[in-house]
Symmetry: C2
Subunit: 284 residues, 2 copies
Amino acid sequence: MPFQYLEYYNGTTGLSVGVNKVLFSEQTPFQKVEVYETDTWGNLMTIDGMVMLSEKDEFVYHEMIAHVACFSHPNPKRVLIIGGGDGGTAREVLKHTSVEHVDMVEIDEAVVRASKQFMPGVGDFDNPKLHVLYENGLTFVDHVPLKYDVIIIDGSDPVGPAVDLFKQEFYDKCRDALNDNGVLTGQTESPWVSSYHESIQSVFRAVDNAFEFSRMYLAFIPLYPTGMWSMAFASKGIDPLSDEVLNRVTSGLNQFGDTLKYYNADMHRAAFALPGFVKEIIAK
Amino acid sequence: MPFQYLEYYNGTTGLSVGVNKVLFSEQTPFQKVEVYETDTWGNLMTIDGMVMLSEKDEFVYHEMIAHVACFSHPNPKRVLIIGGGDGGTAREVLKHTSVEHVDMVEIDEAVVRASKQFMPGVGDFDNPKLHVLYENGLTFVDHVPLKYDVIIIDGSDPVGPAVDLFKQEFYDKCRDALNDNGVLTGQTESPWVSSYHESIQSVFRAVDNAFEFSRMYLAFIPLYPTGMWSMAFASKGIDPLSDEVLNRVTSGLNQFGDTLKYYNADMHRAAFALPGFVKEIIAK
């Protein structure tokens, strides 16, 4: 039976999406995972009533969280994804031919199961380089077997199981889990939503403390609250806007053909430009 | 009586905003103009059920449509605004000390009246350099008394009275109404909304035909459909990304103090970066 999905954010402001039917709905030990069939965005996954991705817009988030990190590192071989159960971030990471091993640490196997069944184009789960581990990301980074070149924090919003992914302790452990040239990216909510400001500030204080280099970058994501989404970049020294990285992006993208729909050399650079009102949030 | 305002776009996808009360509601000869008191965005104006601006987010649209044009021109003195009845675009234009005369050609006096009464911080209507004319922009550009340095197309969506602002004839006339160094900017809807693609393509074909130089640029506008909004830049030769313009932005912004919350030198440049899926729309 068709209905209007409604997600409130910023007080009484919300996103409404027409749903044809509910394809998946499961209260897991961690959260409520649902997949809806929509008429405009393909199938759409929510967690605890918040949009995670749709088949039509997921490319933005996944390209921007994966390629900014993987092109900034000179030669990423081992990549760790915390969360990312839908598989889209791993799919983009695996487009980098240097990558040999991806560990995806997802707390909730239901997210992977729902994505495989109802969003089959999102993940690349049969790729032999991808290793899916059902564990808590916070404890996983405490005992990594072998360090990583890139870590990507692809968790959900800072309520429920992802809340620890916005804290200092987690970023300190991530830094320890990275090799010398290590790079980290993560999603950090919308600057327009004032109830998120504390979480955004918490992450940027944490990466600023833990890493030699950190910056915010932005992407247009139509189904996330306000359409403006922020991400954190942190590294042991690599500047994503250095000539070395920008040249690597340009030459590297030649290998990719036309598989990307959002990320390109201009967008890599442009994403790091911040409006004054956004700078003010993280300056606090 | 409180209610949820709901604006559909892209099929059944929509924006919902909590309204405390209706402050203004008038069916004019041209359109339905309403102002709502909201709990999150201050007062919010809609035209024919589409959000035009809120007190809290209007700075993005107005800064981006005004300053990209006014800084690109080396010495803007005479500026024409088509539409823009809320007054926000004129307010930003008038921050440029070179500007001597602004004609604002708004078809519907009710928009100005509603803005003056219920959004008093948006306009700068007492400024003696500002001349408000209640006329149809399309016929006005046909008989301009004196040419302009900058023209800004600040109309509503391509339904109702603004539909002609998306056609070739209008841009041909705008070009004729501009001085030699003339620059034009205008709002051109969201690339994410497929029902707008025809209008977007129509404008970019038109400016490409009429002008020596044209490009799309983007801004994050949280209360417009999908949060990604496109604008057109066109000129008789000026490239908004030339070193000359970028240097002018940097030095010019020193005069502005901290009155801007979105536009800055980085955002000027970054706005012109386009994702592949957006380039494809205007390449057609």
